[in-house]
Subunit: 644 residues, 2 copies
């Protein structure tokens, strides 16, 4: 544990009520493994990379120019560039708490000073709006992103006040003044509209929780209630794009821009929780279920339109044109985590796990310095490498790119990794719930004040064994609840106590609880089945008809052209299911039939017999590790070889 | 035949050399049938509708404002709105020739007067560029569309000069002055770049042919040769979008924006023909073949990206997100027609036929007053009807819309229908080639001066019988060449002469020729097989794996939800191929299994057994006739019921 002392719970989401209570970074700590390595990479490489880019792109200097009264000349970046600085601050705040780094603390303070200098006397803060030569304040709610930027500012301030409540850097004051202005301008009797890009809602509710004021949640409720009243102007893709087509309460499924939809839904859960609005909460749970059942990729990715970065219709889930924006995945985690805390149901943690491994981890390169903005499930052409000195449009290469003109994803990944410990476990009156499996230390108290301490040892998802060693003696029994993922049929649970008791049994997917007055040294061991699984899609998902995907534990696997013969790509392969996928040398192998190009003049009609094919045993890669061996083609869904 | 006398051939494309010589509207005339009805609709409804919209949208008034020196205030429409006026003029010019309408002649002259008044002394003509408060001339070649607009002006002038060569309206002079300016500004030593949207190339070559000057073809050659030299600025979708990524000569397949790609290719054929550039021509034929083999929908539609209205990669042909822009279909016809004239090969006429029936005809409503901009192959949701008083974004309803903010398609359909007669037949030294089957009169001369006259009677594609009756006596034998479409296995040819000779045989797809010294009253009858065909896709087209489509003659068929039970849509149907598609009451019927929704929480994994299904005999509709019976869902590709 870092030496920081916390007077509030240092966690990203702290609902005032709910089934589960989140733990702070002072109560649960990832100590290594898959996610620990990525947290170290975030610390060592990604955060520095982001800071350098924010400087070299001039997005930080925008604040200096604002303070010097020199805007709009020289302002650089998109209208929402301020938000990337705030997400970076949020990431730093969590990482400072996680690591205790004084270097990062210095960076943090220096940036806050620059941001502070740009704030106007009435609390307004935005480098692209309001000055002579810029659009007037709040005059372009559709695209101006002013409230969006402030939403991220509020989240950064929340991270800070929860991890360094006594810090004198001033970020919390900046946020409070801006939030008060938002309430004045957009409160009852003010501008009766909303921001084209939701996120201010989660920011306001969390800031209100952190500063113990009702005012901000009240304002967030106004924004949620106003949404869908068509107060935003119509656009080419219709108001559906920014969820202003139908009220949040009456929404049946997430739709429109996928990041906006998830951020809005997360904010709406926060509002429902703070206002005790069970009807709204039930609607949001239904929306989540419909979205998962019909509009989500196997990877957990969401959004199937490039044009408007949006959800498609039900069953419209093309692999090759999957947008699956990294930020939409993070938004989905935000939404799911809130529903998990509210309900305690493991389906939400299942989706979080899937999305973490197959969207968030997949977006980040091995060196932590390049990123996917979109996460396709089928890479048809090798493309060209991203020039490390260039800033890229959103989605233009088969390889990750170091930075984007719209660079929302890199700092979003950074803040997620820096606060990831908080998503591992929770407590309630009965005990502790373990949601995600990583090597970790948990040191917390139950509601009755009883201290609970245990360690988690695992190399999951490399294998499925998760060993929990209790480190504290309890006088009263408590529940240790473990999530058994929906795919984990045949999971084994073993309990071995210091007094020689031992029990082992097969448990069903869902939640398994061990209730006892644990003693230090007691062991609880969960063994999740990690043999490769063959997954078939619902027949209504037209894009992947007659295909299967191979999964292993929480990992979606893929075939990458670098594992085929030189001349082959993945366009004409079929999996031969007569031989089962099997593990060898730490990889999963499958039998492929690889066809050779035999073009007809016209690709429709009566097929002219079998094409030449050869068989090959081919290893799969975890999808998250794609595009780390040079240019390649890749696919997750494999056509099934038709019986001869 | 109209009473107009032609001194030049009134046809849209007149190459100076080639395998086939096109016929003018004075030589071939469609007299009714499928296309004749649509030409009447164009005359009676569509042209009036377009004229009204050009007025009510203010796109015509832009010219008045320009003439009055009152721009840029009050200018309306997109930067390329001028081009819609020019395409409308082109449509009117062809339609005046086809119909002899004095009313349309009056409309034509009145518009030309307004356009003429807006032309600047040096020949420059554009209502959105060059004035104080507008961007300077030629300063935004990527998006300014100045040369694009002029390309359409040139095509309108070509239509006029070829159909009313002695008219005193002045359009030809307007075009000549503008073309001369283009040559000065963009000639050798001038601006060494190209327009972001090709079309000036075809316009220049055709204008040069019509006015018998080499200068314009020379300028077109410069534009073709400069393309791919990256003289345009890069954009988010890369220079591939406007084909400035690789030279035309080195291009392997059409790519980027599908309309741009086809217009450019058509212009490049024109340049290759005029300059005798066999290498360029061979490259274009190869590009066409690759595009047809891997990047074209069953309907002939092209373009599978909504984001950039562009071609996808090879095999990336999603049905539900098919863009298949109407204008891309028309561009493809322009490209194909030029290659047909150059080579005489029937594959080009095959694609023209497919695209005419399944893109151009499909885009137009039964009343001729609403249009599809995009032509999806799978309509997943019924959507909402288009408000007839509203101008629509490009592609937002399941029903056709009366007008679009980008309204390139309506006048493009109009000019195509008005000049369609010219695509029916051609001549060469040996005889006459019939490319498209419609009731028609052909009255022409062979190269040796011999008069050839015949009529075509048919209700094709209602049935497959095409009866040709010779109306002139020939002293010398000549070839009557008939295209047998690639799908038409089992076609019968019967020759019955006035002197009692009779022959009947089965002919192969390709071209069948009857050579004789025909006498008036001789009959040649072609009977194309019209029983429904089951077409299967290349397995590399992932989006339609394990699906079939039903075609009948040149028509692609579709299932529409209005033919299903009330509660059904097309998302969960499968075709049962144990019973063959069959005709009854003039419709094609298939056996469908219709599933009932049975959502799982997560749509991937091990399917949990069969879903409830019922069988139904369902009639198909021709795709072109979709969405004419109210809101509906629709699909062309039908999943094949898996064997039990």
């Amino acid at each position: 544990m870092p030496s920081v002392t916390f007077t509030t719970t240092p966690a990203p989401v702290l609902p005032s009520r709910g089934t589960l209570r989140p733990l702070g970074l002072n109560e649960v700590r990832i100590t290594g493994g898959f996610w620990g390595r990525r947290q170290e990479l975030n610390h060592d490489a990604t955060l520095t990379h982001i800071g350098n880019r924010l400087e070299s792109e001039g997005w930080l200097s925008n604040f200096d120019l604002a303070a010097a009264g020199m805007l709009p000349q020289g302002r650089r970046g998109a209208v929402f560039a301020d938000s990337e600085v705030y997400k970076y601050l949020e990431a730093l705040a969590w990482e400072i708490a996680r690591s205790g780094s004084e270097r990062l603390e210095g960076t943090f303070r220096s940036i806050v000073t620059r941001v502070a200098a740009a704030q106007e006397p009435d609390g307004y803060l935005n480098t692209s709006v309001g000055r002579t030569g810029q659009i007037p304040r709040w005059s372009d709610l559709e695209w101006g992103h002013e409230l969006y930027c402030l939403g991220h500012l509020f989240q950064a301030a929340v991270a800070r006040v929860r991890t360094r409540p006594d810090a004198d850097d001033g970020l919390v004051q900046i946020a409070r003044r801006a939030a008060d202005l938002v309430c004045e301008v957009f409160g009852n009797g003010g501008i009766e509209s909303v921001c084209g890009h939701p996120v201010v809602e989660v920011g306001l509710v969390e800031l209100g929780r952190a500063l113990t004021t009702q005012r901000y949640a009240h304002q967030a409720r106004l924004f949620i209630e106003r949404r869908g009243r068509r107060t935003l102007n119509d656009i080419e893709w219709s108001r559906k794009y920014f969820q202003d087509d139908v009220s949040v309460r009456d929404t049946e499924v997430l739709h429109g821009h996928a990041v906006r939809a998830n951020y809005l839904a997360a904010g709406a859960v926060d509002v429902a929780i703070e206002t005790g609005d069970e009807e709204l909460l039930a609607s949001l749970r239904q929306q989540w279920s419909h979205t998962i059942a019909r509009r989500t990729y196997l990877t957990g990715g969401q959004g199937s339109h490039h044009q408007d970065e949006a959800f498609g219709e039900d069953w419209e889930l093309p692999s090759d044109r999957a947008y699956s924006e990294t930020c939409a995945g993070i938004g989905s985690i935000m939404f799911s985590w809130r529903l998990l805390l509210a309900s305690g149901e493991p389906v939400y943690a299942d989706l979080i796990e899937r999305t973490l491994y197959n969207v968030v981890a997949a977006a980040l390169s091995r060196d932590g310095r390049s990123f996917y903005y979109t996460n396709t499930l089928h890479q048809r052409v090798p493309g060209t490498p991203a020039d490390p000195d260039r800033t890229w449009p959103r989605a233009s290469s088969s390889l990750r790119a170091p930075w984007f003109e719209v660079s929302c994803c890199p700092p979003n990944i950074a803040r997620t990794l820096a606060s990831l410990d908080a998503y591992v476990a929770s407590v309630n009156g009965d005990g502790v719930q373990l949601h995600q499996y990583a090597p970790a230390e948990v040191r917390t108290h139950l509601e009755d004040g009883q201290s609970v301490q245990f360690d988690v040892d695992t190399v999951y998802p490399e294998n499925g064994r998760v060993l929990i060693t209790i480190r504290s003696d309890s006088s009263q029994p408590w529940n240790l609840s473990l999530r058994v993922p929906a795919w984990a049929y045949g999971t084994r649970l073993r309990v071995q106590t210091t007094d020689g008791e031992s029990e082992e049994k097969t448990v069903e997917p869902g939640i398994v609880s061990v209730r006892r007055a644990f003693r230090a040294g007691d062991h609880v061991e969960l063994t999740l089945p990690m043999q490769p699984r063959i997954s078939k899609p619902d027949p209504r998902i037209d894009a992947i008809r007659q295909c299967v995907a191979i999964e292993r534990g929480p990992l979606v696997l893929a075939v990458e052209s670098v594992d085929l013969a030189t001349s082959d790509d993945v366009s004409a392969v079929a999996i031969d299911l007569r031989s089962q996928p099997h593990e060898r040398d730490g990889r999963v192998w499958i039998s492929l039939r690889i066809g050779h190009d035999s073009d007809r003049d016209w690709p429709y009609g009566t097929p002219d017999g079998a094409t030449a094919e050869r068989a090959a045993e081919v290893p799969l890669i975890p999808y998250y590790d794609r595009a780390n061996r040079g240019l390649s083609t890749m696919r997750i869904w494999l056509p099934v070889l038709e019986p001869c």
